[in-house]
């Protein structure tokens, strides 16, 4: 959006998540506020001679709505989406052809394909059907099949910004009239490829990650799913459904710098933040809270901190910032969806969860970091940051009510 015209807010009428802290929003939020940590030694089915840690969703997974015939990512997505859709009452209020599904994912069915590929190399053919699970679009199709939604349907991969990019695209679809409502968010499951890949890049902390900490050494990989239901505000108000938040804007940019590393000066991320503020017609000092990307890697946290300081100016030192990746790990494509839910809960409940793992803030960060325990306050506007491998940046701006 350009010209300073204020974006019309969308209503968030449903949300759902499953992650290492719990199988639903209420459990997740309660444990998050209590400083819970779902990061532990990586176990079966992964070999782990180094003692790597990760934030795995405890097994067995809830059985509904998808079952053993589906990939783990599909099942995680199904659980989160079911909670979101049930809360919104969506199916009874719109034609199925007017409900969009937008999913962000980086792994899709990679976990299942890995096993099959190993078997194939050993001469075991296995079922043909497993080869379709590399197909990331199947997550959206499983959701579409389960709920009967046949509106616009997209699957995106912008690496770690996938979930947030999916929410941004869903908002676009509603704003231009291609959908009346949307189920949107992200899902990813642990798989050997990303675990070994991030390990090879020396991006994993051997202990649970420590976002913004002076001694931080990297991220902790996680898995999960987080979905929102978006719809037009007047329609939601007319229907009398509970509106948990307003999506005020979505800011996006690209670093165009490196296939893995962010721009060190944070300028790409700053442009996404600025775009979100411009689209919502907000001044920096109106931002009450930031749910940071905060992976715990030296490069990301430094760049993100600089981006926040550059865009918020003096207000950066007064705006409470948290990262929840110390609690649930970096859930890759799911991060944007899950962290959007945490951001929304902060606005609803008036509580910022602590940054678990942060004991001694890096003095170079220069932000008001929430650590040790949750912090209360009156929060009306909050940003949720997602900055991806390869430079894709997405910032979501939520409001407790139209600011």
């Amino acid at each position: 959006m350009t010209g300073g015209a204020r974006e019309t807010p969308l209503a968030v009428t449903g949300m759902g998540t499953i992650n290492a802290l719990g199988p639903d929003t209420a459990t997740f939020w309660r444990r998050l506020v209590d400083g819970g940590c779902g990061i532990a030694r990586l176990g079966e089915p992964f070999e782990n001679p180094d003692g790597l840690v990760a934030a795995a969703v405890p097994d067995p997974l809830p059985g509904e709505p998808s079952g053993p015939g589906h990939t783990r990512t599909e099942r995680l997505a199904g659980v989160a989406a079911e909670e979101a859709v049930r809360a919104s009452g969506l199916p009874s209020r719109y034609s199925p052809r007017r409900i969009a599904i937008v999913v962000g994912t980086t792994t899709g069915g990679e976990r299942e394909v890995e096993s099959a590929f190993t078997g194939l190399l050993s001469g075991r053919r296995g079922p043909r059907s497993v080869w379709f699970r590399h197909d990331k679009a199947s997550v959206a199709d499983v959701l579409g099949s389960h709920f009967g939604f046949s509106g616009a349907r997209f699957t995106l991969n912008t690496a770690c910004a996938s979930g947030a990019s999916a929410i941004a695209l869903a908002a676009d679809l509603i704003h231009v009239g291609l959908a009346d409502a949307a189920l949107c968010g992200g899902a990813d499951s642990l798989a050997r490829v990303p675990i070994s890949g991030f390990r090879a890049l020396r991006a994993l902390d051997p202990s649970p990650c420590r976002p913004f900490d002076r001694s931080r050494r990297g991220m902790s990989i996680g898995e999960g799913a987080g979905f929102l239901v978006l719809e037009r505000l007047p329609a939601a108000e007319s229907a009398g459904v509970e509106i948990v938040s307003h999506l005020l804007s979505c800011g996006q940019s690209t670093d165009a710098h490196h296939v893995t590393a962010p721009l060190p000066d944070g300028s790409g991320q700053a442009r996404a933040i600025a775009a979100a503020l411009e689209e919502a017609a907000l001044r920096p000092e109106q931002v009450d809270h930031i749910n940071a990307h905060g992976t715990g890697t030296p490069a990301n946290d430094a760049a993100e901190a600089r981006a926040i300081r550059d865009t918020l100016g003096a207000h950066a030192r007064r705006c409470p910032v948290t990262s929840i990746k110390g609690s649930i790990g970096h859930t890759l494509g799911a991060a944007g969806g899950i962290e959007a839910i945490a951001t929304i809960e902060t606005l609803r409940r008036g509580i910022v969860p602590p940054t678990v793992g942060l004991s001694e803030p890096d003095p170079e960060i220069g932000l008001d970091l929430v650590r040790n325990e949750a912090r209360g306050g009156a929060f009306r506007v909050a940003l949720s940051h997602s900055f991806g491998f390869g430079g894709g940046n997405a910032v979501l701006c939520f409001g407790r009510r139209a600011a």
């Binding site: 190993t118 379709f132 199709d141 509106g151 894709g392």
Partner: protein, 318 residues
């Protein structure tokens, strides 16, 4: 629905580079499925040639050619977006990585293979090469990945998040996939394609005096509601519905149903397929329209999950 101008195009196909050469070669019959690496070399920097995945290289070349064709260097970098469409993703690096994991275990992955194995890597390479810092994304939707990438690009324009967007789509088939398919009982050979279109708003193109080569008139997607069903395509009725929806969205009731549409087999020969060839088919359709002087055509396809997408293109006043 706002029509978008098309101000740049590029096409890479096993038979050559450029829509004109491809159309001429297709007229002589076509059986090839792979794009030779040698044709890419003049367009790639040494580090791009060395590091990028097979798909990324092809998409990168298409994006560069289209951006140059459109003269995008005259636009501010943060107003240029990029959308990648791919059905198969960066399979070469994925296969390298999986093979390494199988042979050497989780501890010995090649870090460069991992970074370049994700679909988002192709977008990263393209945005770095073009210096495009506007919004970017990678769209994955099987056999309609190209069409869906065009729709996402058009939405970025409609929402004024960009002044121009490079939409690049394709797929590449590494040797492993070629060996694998017969073992899985597959009957179709994977074909390779990479193509790009540059979309701009009509006002934006006029403002910088760009010369449109065509227009994006309308688009639509109809989603299926059944789960994966193997290699079966979407029902013909779904493709028809998508086409009709695209025509309706464009407000073009007068489009003649017989306007040219390219069957995938027209591009690669019998039995071959390339999931991400939607933008290539759009580029070739535009070239055929250009040769006729004017007209409109739709590029429409179904995919095996039951969805279909259609994009309506035009040249001239129709």
């Amino acid at each position: 629905m706002i029509a978008a101008c098309i101000t740049g195009a590029a096409a890479l196909h096993p038979l050559g580079i450029g829509a004109e050469a491809i159309v001429a070669a297709l007229a002589r019959g076509c059986e090839a499925t792979a794009i030779d690496d040698a044709v890419l070399r003049p367009f790639l920097e040494p580090n791009e040639a060395r590091r990028a995945d097979r798909l990324s290289k092809r998409l990168l070349v298409a994006a560069k050619i289209a951006a140059r064709d459109a003269g995008l260097s005259s636009l501010p970098a943060d107003r240029i977006g990029l959308v990648v469409g791919t059905g198969l993703g960066c399979l070469e690096r994925t296969e390298d990585l999986l093979r390494g994991l199988s042979e050497k275990g989780l501890q010995n992955a090649d870090p460069m293979h991992f970074a370049d194995s994700m679909e988002s890597a192709a977008a990263a390479h393209c945005t770095i090469a073009l210096g495009a810092t506007g919004p970017s994304a990678s769209v994955i939707h099987r056999e309609i990945s190209g069409e869906m990438a065009l729709i996402r690009g058009a939405l970025l324009l409609l929402r004024r998040r960009v002044d121009a967007v490079v939409v690049v789509a394709g797929d590449a088939a590494p040797s492993g996939l070629r060996e694998l398919l017969p073992r899985l009982g597959g009957r179709r050979a994977p074909g390779e394609a990479a193509a790009a279109l540059v979309l701009e708003s009509t006002e934006g193109a006029k403002r910088r005096r760009a010369s449109p080569i065509g227009r994006l008139l309308g688009y639509a997607q109809i989603a299926g509601t059944r789960e994966r069903a193997g290699f079966r395509d979407a029902a013909p009725a779904t493709v028809h519905d998508a086409r009709e929806a695209a025509i309706a969205a464009a407000g073009r009731a007068g489009v003649v149903p017989g306007d040219p549409v390219l069957d995938p087999e027209d591009l690669f020969g019998p039995g071959a397929f390339c999931p991400g060839d939607g933008v290539l088919r759009a580029v070739v359709a535009l070239e055929r329209l250009r040769l006729r002087g004017a007209g409109s055509a739709w590029v429409a396809r179904g995919e095996r999950g039951g969805s279909a997408a259609a994009v309506l293109l035009g040249v001239g006043d129709r």
